[in-house]
Symmetry: C2
C-alpha cells in the first residue's frame, strides 16, 4: 500500500505535502522541501501590486477636504510620528487604484490658472520650511499645502517641496497611476516658465533612495515586492514550531527606519492630560520584569490569492499565498507594566480610555482596545527580543509592540509613541484597510465605519485569534464527504494563552490520485470552524481568507 | 412591487418570516404569528427521545467499574450534590440508547444464581438504609449496592430499594429500553419467591411522581418532553430583545427541586483545604453589590434537528428546532465577589485552581474555567432575579449560576455548592454530553477526552460566545450567490460584553417565489463566520449546529 504523509501546522504547511511514500507501510518521512501538492488557488504570477498607504482621513464616511482641521489628541499622536519619520518623499499621494476611496473633494474649486508661469527660482522658495510648499510634476506646479496633512506618508512629502516629485516617484513607482495624478491635479496652480525648461522638461535632480538602508534579507523568502519589502515565509520555514528569524515573513508599508538605540525613546501619553513619560531602551530592558511568549503573527491578507481565485473575484492588495504567517518567541516588558509605571491605574482606569494607539518610526500607526493591553493574561509586550536575540531591523528594532492573538497589523514595529485614547487610531490601517465588508459591498461608496477594525482573528488552520486553542484539524481526501483527524503535535507555546499555531501531521493510508484534492480545516476551542468556501466571505480588501484549504495532489 | 419583510435576531427568528406583502411598496409589517416560512430542516414530528443523564465516570477513557473509588475533591462535590438531591428513584440506570457509552464492565462476574429465591419480607430489609440495597424488576431481584455510585441520578435510586423499580419506571419511561435492562441484569442475584407472586407478578405499590411539584407552564411553549420538561421558546417569544419569562425555553434533566428559600444555603469550597463557607439567600442579596446583565442562554443542542436533516445523519438527543435559545435580564451578586469574600485571592489565585464546579439541587453539575469567573469583565453572576422578578422555579429559584457567553449547560440552576478545583466537574454533562467530535467519530469507541467541553460558543445568528459582538448579518435570496445585509437593531444589552443576541430585520424589495430559499448567516467581531453546511460539523451528539440557516419560502 502506498501512503501519504502530510505535515501541517500553519496555514502554510499544506504546501509542504510530500510525495506519496514509495516504501510499503507508509512510514517514510520526507523532507519538507519535497513538495508535491500546491494550493489550487495559488497564483502563478505575482504582479507588483501593493496595498500600500492611502491618505489619512479624520472622518470616515466621506473623503476629507484637505483643509479639515484635526482636533483630537489621538490624531496628534499619529501626526507626531510622521514628523519624525525618516526621509523620503512623495509617498503615495493616493493609494492603489484597487482601493475603494474616491479622490477627496476640494472645498473650493481652484482651477489651474492656465497660462500662469513660475520660474524655478520662485518655486525653490516654496520648500519644506516655507508657508506654502509647492512641487513640480512634469511642467505643472502644485501647491500641496492643504494636502500634506492627508498624505499617508505624512510630512515626508515635503522632501520634494520646492522641486520635482518625479525622481521620488521613480523609486515609489506606486504613484505612477492615473488616480494619483488626478488627486495632484486638483492642487495645480500653474506651470514652470518655459524659460527654465531644457528640451521642454524640468531638469531633474538626483534623490536618495530611502530603501538604501534596508537590511540584507534571506534569498529563500518569497518576495512579492521589494520596495517596500513584502515577502512570504517559504514552505521550508513553516514546518517548525518556531520560524527561523531570517525566514519570518516581512510585511512593510515603508522602508526600514534606521534607529540609533542609544538615542531611542518611547513616549507614553496616558490621554488624561498628565505629562508624557519617556523610556529609553535601557529603561524597558532593566526597569520592568521581562516576559517571554511565543506568538504567531499573520497578515490579514494571508491567502488573499486563494480568496480571489476561490470566489472568482479580484480583491485588492498584495496577492499573498499561504506564507504571510510565522511564529516566533518574543521577549520584553509587558506594556501594562510600563503603562502602570507611567501612571495608569490598572485597577480603575479612566472610563474614557478605550484604545491604545501605537505609532511607529516609519509613519505606520494602529491601535488595539485598551482591555487587551490591561488584561493580565493578555501578554501584550514591548518586544525587544525575537527568538532569543535582539530584534532585527526588519521586525522592529529596537522595540515593537507585540499583540498576540490579534492580526499582525496591530503589532506596530519601531514603535516610538503610545497614546491612550477614547478613539481608535485615525490611520487608514486602522480605519480602512484592515476591515472586512460583505461580499456585496463594492469599494465604491463604502462607508468605512460600517465594519470594525480587525483585531482578534477567526480560526484558520491551525491557529486562531484571541488565544483560542486549536482543538482539532480535520482532513478530507474525498472532497469533504468524509473526514479524518490530523495528529496535533505537542504544544510548545509559552504565554498565558494559545498564541501560537498548532503543528500537525496526517498519515493517509492510501495513495492519493494525482489531481485529487486534500481539504484541511481547523476547529478552535470555541468550536468555531473555517467556512467551506471563499465566496460568502469575499470582501473587496481580501482580508481574512479563512475558507477550507484545498490542495491539489500533483503527480 | 411585492415585498417581503423578515424579522430576525436570534436563530429562531427566521421562523417568523412573514408573508409577502400584499400592498405595493413593501411597507406592510406583519404580526410575527403570521409565519410563511419554515426551516427546511424542521422536523415534522418530535419523538419523545431525551438526552438525559448517564452514569457518572470518574475516569474518562473506559467505563468505570461500579466499585471504583473516587478520590478527588472535585468528585466529592458532585456526589454531595446527589446526597441532597430531592426525592425520586430509578432515574436512568442507563441513558438513551443513542448514546455512545458501553455498559460498565463488572469487576467480577456474578452470574445470577438461577433458582435462588427471595421472599418479599427479606427483600424489604434491603431498603435505602441497609448495607446492601436491593430492587425488584419483574420477578428478578437485584443487588444494586455497587451501582449506586455510578447512577447519574445519584442516590435517588434508593427510593426503590427494598421494592420494585417498575412504578418509578412508569414515570421515568426513559428506563424502558433494552440497554437499561441489560445493565440491571448484571446485578441480578435471584428471583422473588413464587409464594409471593400474585398471578405470577410482584404486587406493585403506588409511588410518588417527583414531577408532581413541577410548576405550571405556559401552553405557548413548544414542548419536546414533559418529564423532564424540555420546551422551546415559540416564535412569538423570539421577536423581542428580552424573552418574556413564561416563554423562556426550558431545558431540564430532572424535575424541578422544591427549595425552601428560608433554609437555602450555598456552600463554597475554595479547594485549598480551608473550611467551607456558606451563604444564605439573604447573604447573597444584601452582602454583595448586585449587578444586572442581559444574556442569552442557548442549549448546545439548539438546531440539532437541522444538523441531522442537513447532514442526512442522525444525532442523538432532543430534536430541538430553533427555539432552544432565549435572552433575559439577570441580576445578582458577581460570583467573583462571593469567592473573594469566601477567601479567594483574586489577584494571586492558587495555581492549582483551574475550574469552578457547580452543583445543583437537582443532581445536575457542570464547571467553567476559573478565569471566566475571576475575570472582572466576565460577569458571572449568582443570579437571583430574572427580568426584574425573583427567579422562577423553572429557571433555578432561588439561585442559579449565570455564565454569560458560555453554553447554557454551564449555568447551573438551583445551585447549592461551588467547588474550586484543578479539574473540571466529573459529571457526564461536563465530560461527555456537551462536546463535539469530528464528523467521522462514531459513538462507539469514542475517547471522550479527545474533545474539550463546550464553553464559549461559536457564532450563530445572531449571537456569539465569549461576548463577541455580532457585527453583520448577511442574507441571500439566491442560494448564496449574492448577499445583502440585514439591519441590526440598536443594542439594548447590559453588561461588560455582548452577551445578548442582536435583533435584525431585512426588507427584501421583491417577492420571493414559494419554494425558494432564504439563507441567513452572522459574523461576529472576530470575523468568525457560520459554516456553509452541516455535514462537515456533524457530530454524533448533535451539538452546536451553527451552519447557515436555510429557510424555505412557503406559499
Amino acid at each position: 500500500m502506498k501512503a501519504l504523509r502530510i505535515f501541517g501546522g500553519p496555514s502554510t504547511l499544506i504546501r509542504s505535502v510530500v510525495k506519496p511514500c514509495q516504501r510499503s507501510g507508509g512510514l517514510g518521512v520526507y523532507s519538507h522541501a519535497s513538495i508535491s501538492c500546491r494550493p489550487i488557488n495559488q497564483y502563478q504570477t505575482r504582479p507588483f501590486i501593493t496595498d500600500i498607504p492611502r491618505r489619512i482621513h479624520s472622518q470616515h464616511d466621506s473623503p476629507v477636504p484637505p483643509t479639515k482641521q484635526r482636533d483630537s489628541k489621538a490624531i496628534t499622536a499619529g501626526i507626531l510620528a510622521f514628523t519624525t519619520a525618516v526621509a523620503a518623499l512623495g509617498w503615495t499621494l493616493n493609494g492603489p487604484d484597487l482601493n475603494a476611496e474616491a479622490p477627496p473633494a476640494r472645498q473650493e474649486t481652484k482651477d489651474a490658472p492656465k497660462g500662469k508661469f513660475f520660474r524655478l527660482d520662485e518655486i525653490r522658495k516654496h520648500g519644506a520650511d516655507s508657508e506654502r510648499p509647492w512641487v513640480i510634476k512634469g511642467t505643472g506646479v502644485y501647491d500641496i499645502t492643504d494636502w500634506i496633512e492627508s498624505h499617508p506618508g505624512g510630512k515626508v512629502v515635503l522632501r520634494a517641496a520646492g522641486s520635482s516629485v518625479e525622481p521620488y516617484w521613480n523609486i515609489f513607482t506606486i504613484h505612477k497611476k492615473d488616480d494619483v495624478y488626478q488627486i495632484l491635479e486638483q492642487f495645480r496652480i500653474g506651470d514652470v516658465d518655459p524659460l527654465d525648461l531644457v528640451d521642454g522638461c524640468v531638469p531633474q535632480e538626483q534623490v536618495d533612495d530611502p530603501f538604501r538602508e534596508d537590511p540584507e534579507r534571506d534569498s529563500r523568502l518569497v518576495y512579492l515586492t521589494e520596495k517596500p519589502c513584502n515577502a512570504e515565509t517559504p514552505p521550508s520555514g513553516l514546518t517548525s514550531f518556531i520560524t527561523d528569524t531570517p525566514l519570518f515573513y516581512v510585511r512593510h508599508h515603508f522602508w526600514v527606519p534606521p534607529i540609533d538605540p542609544s538615542s531611542y525613546k518611547i513616549t507614553i501619553d496616558l490621554g488624561d492630560g498628565s505629562d508624557e513619560k519617556t523610556y529609553t531602551l535601557d529603561d524597558l530592558r532593566t526597569k520592568f520584569p521581562q516576559h517571554t511568549i511565543t506568538a504567531v503573527l499573520q497578515c490579514s491578507g494571508n491567502r488573499r490569492s486563494h480568496m480571489s481565485e476561490g470566489s472568482g473575484r479580484e480583491a485588492s492588495g498584495l496577492k499573498w499565498d499561504v506564507g504571510a504567517i510565522s511564529n516566533a518567541e518574543w521577549r520584553g516588558p509587558r506594556l501594562r507594566d510600563v503603562l502602570r509605571d507611567a501612571g495608569l491605574n490598572l485597577e480603575d482606569p479612566p472610563e474614557d480610555i478605550q484604545h491604545a494607539q501605537f505609532s511607529g518610526e516609519d509613519a505606520y500607526g494602529a491601535s488595539v482596545p485598551i482591555d487587551k493591553v490591561m488584561d493580565a493574561r493578555g501578554d501584550v509586550l514591548l518586544a525587544c527580543e525575537m527568538n532569543g536575540k535582539i530584534l532585527p531591523p526588519d521586525h522592529g528594532y529596537p522595540v515593537r509592540v507585540l499583540v498576540p492573538g490579534v492580526t499582525g497589523a496591530r503589532s506596530v514595529k519601531w514603535v516610538n509613541r503610545i497614546t491612550l485614547s477614547e478613539e481608535e487610531s485615525e490611520t487608514q490601517w486602522q480605519r480602512r484597510d484592515y476591515k472586512c465588508f460583505g461580499p456585496n459591498q463594492g469599494r465604491d461608496a463604502v462607508n468605512w465605519d460600517n465594519a470594525p477594525s480587525i483585531q482578534e482573528t477567526p480560526v484558520h488552520y491551525a491557529v486562531s485569534g484571541g488565544g483560542r486553542r486549536i482543538i482539532r484539524v480535520d482532513i478530507s481526501t474525498d472532497n469533504g464527504k468524509t473526514w479524518d483527524q490530523a495528529e496535533i503535535q505537542p504544544d510548545q507555546s509559552r504565554g498565558n494563552k494559545a498564541w501560537s499555531w498548532a503543528l500537525w501531521k496526517y498519515h493517509c493510508g492510501r495513495r492519493l490520485e494525482p489531481g485529487s484534492t486534500v481539504i484541511v480545516k481547523a476547529i478552535d476551542e470555541t468550536y468555531n470552524v473555517q467556512p467551506d468556501t471563499h465566496g460568502p466571505t469575499f470582501n473587496f480588501r481580501g482580508n481574512l481568507a479563512n475558507a477550507w484549504h484545498r490542495v491539489r495532489v500533483e503527480d
